[in-house]
Amino acid sequence: MITIDGLTKAYGPKIAISNVSFKVNRGEVLGFLGPNGAGKTTTMKIITSFMPPTSGHVSVMEYDTVKDSMKSRQCIGYLPENTPLYPDMRVKTFLKFVARAKGVKKVNMASRVNKVICEFGLEEVQNTVIATLSKGFRQRVGLAQALINDPPVLILDEPTIGLDPKQIYEIRQLIKDLSGSRTIILSSHILPEVSQLCDRVAIINKGKIVAIDRTQSLKARLQDHSSIIIKVGQRLEEALKIIEGVEGVLSVSSSNSSILNVETIKDRDLRPVMAEKIVGAGIPLLEIVRKEMSLEEIFMELITEEEGPDA
């Protein structure tokens, strides 16, 4: 669906991205993660034909974004960072303009415009001047303009930035509804958002792709041991000794008077054994959970790994 091949972009002597290559399949939601200035926006601007790459190719639905730019643009709905909109226009007038600009046929125009207005809950603000809209509504108008011609590909640059928690939730819900048949690339630096919404994650740092994989496999790949947290009612010292004795446990530490952090080998789930031993010793067991590595930790790990040799 989207093929990015050896993409490099230099702004003068400054190289923004170098040799970025990946593919996004039909119907897939790809999360594009990276710290600020890593090259997320640059990559997205090249995919949307806003600017040409210094070298490399991007094709969207088999259309090259430089040679067949008009066709590839037709397939893409783009929500740029910070949602630029015309403040002096009314919502409906703006959406009609976008529909016309994207070549929506006159017969379908009214129905398309009304459809996105309904889909994004813009009925009450359709005759409002954009300048007076709240950030949440602006974001909806931004999504509506991207989707007005029902494109198969959506590129969203930081779609939830600057919104309040309720609006973030709503926009995420909207994005979730949009996935399915559509191919979506979504950039973000909010990591839980990416793990919630995306099938796959591409992590970019300093203009290079550091990792690209399914969220689950990324976690598995980086975790060389599993962490288990055990909470007991009393007799912590005793519990600590018992757990240390379990085969496969690498280390045990206690962070306060009731919690034990246990590191075990990766390929076996030791929870049943440990639970049995603690209960067998008559110690009240309150909780035993496996701690998953969060995307934040993966992210930090990859980025620091990458920075390691430089430092």
Binding site: M89, F97, R100, A101
Partner: protein, 253 residues
Amino acid sequence: MRSVYFKELSIYFSSPIFYVIASIFICISGIFFYNAMVYVSLLATKIAQYQMETGVDMNEVLLRPVFSDMSMLIVFIVPIISMRLYAEESSLGTIELLFTYPLSDLSVLVAKYLAGLTVLFCILAITSVLMALMAVIAVPDWGVVFSSYIGLVLMGGAILSLGVFASSLTKNQIIAAALTLGLVLGFWVIGWFAGAVPNTAASEFLQEISLISHLSRFLKGMVTIKDIVFYVCFSVFFLALTLRILDSHRWRG
């Protein structure tokens, strides 16, 4: 192309820009018109008083001064019409929308230019009220009126192309307007130096690229191919230059 054209018009007409510019233009041309009329009536009384046989040449004393004053106003007003065309898109970031929609740079440029021209045309159209007022007193030479309007639109179009060019260079609308005004005044006064240059070819060239010298014939009622071609080529040249600037912005990111 039509989509961007209508979008630009809707922004001009839904924000105060048009109304402010148009009312200033019309008020000031009204004052100029009034002054010219006062002068005409003074002249007419004098002629009646001394029972002179010469008539009053309305073209000379009324139409030409009014239209040449209007051309001065156009010099100041077109930069304000044109300053937002690209600069505003860049500062709002909406240029990112416009350049990722399936529209070619050329069609966007032409649409923006035509929208600016339409605004200028509307403002000039309102001044036709003055001509109607004049017709109540004495029937003007409609040929001169029309040729003057054609000249003003063509010259306005040339200035507009400078304005679009300046607007594509910067994110700041004020800089765009100032730059346009500077360029226009430069092209306006360039003819004055024609006399100072000894080389006849160079002096003729300076004379010919002056924006004002081509207007004078229109104001006399002469519509010549040469002047039309000059204004059209001038506009096309600066629009083509704008296209190059937009292209280079893209490459530089």
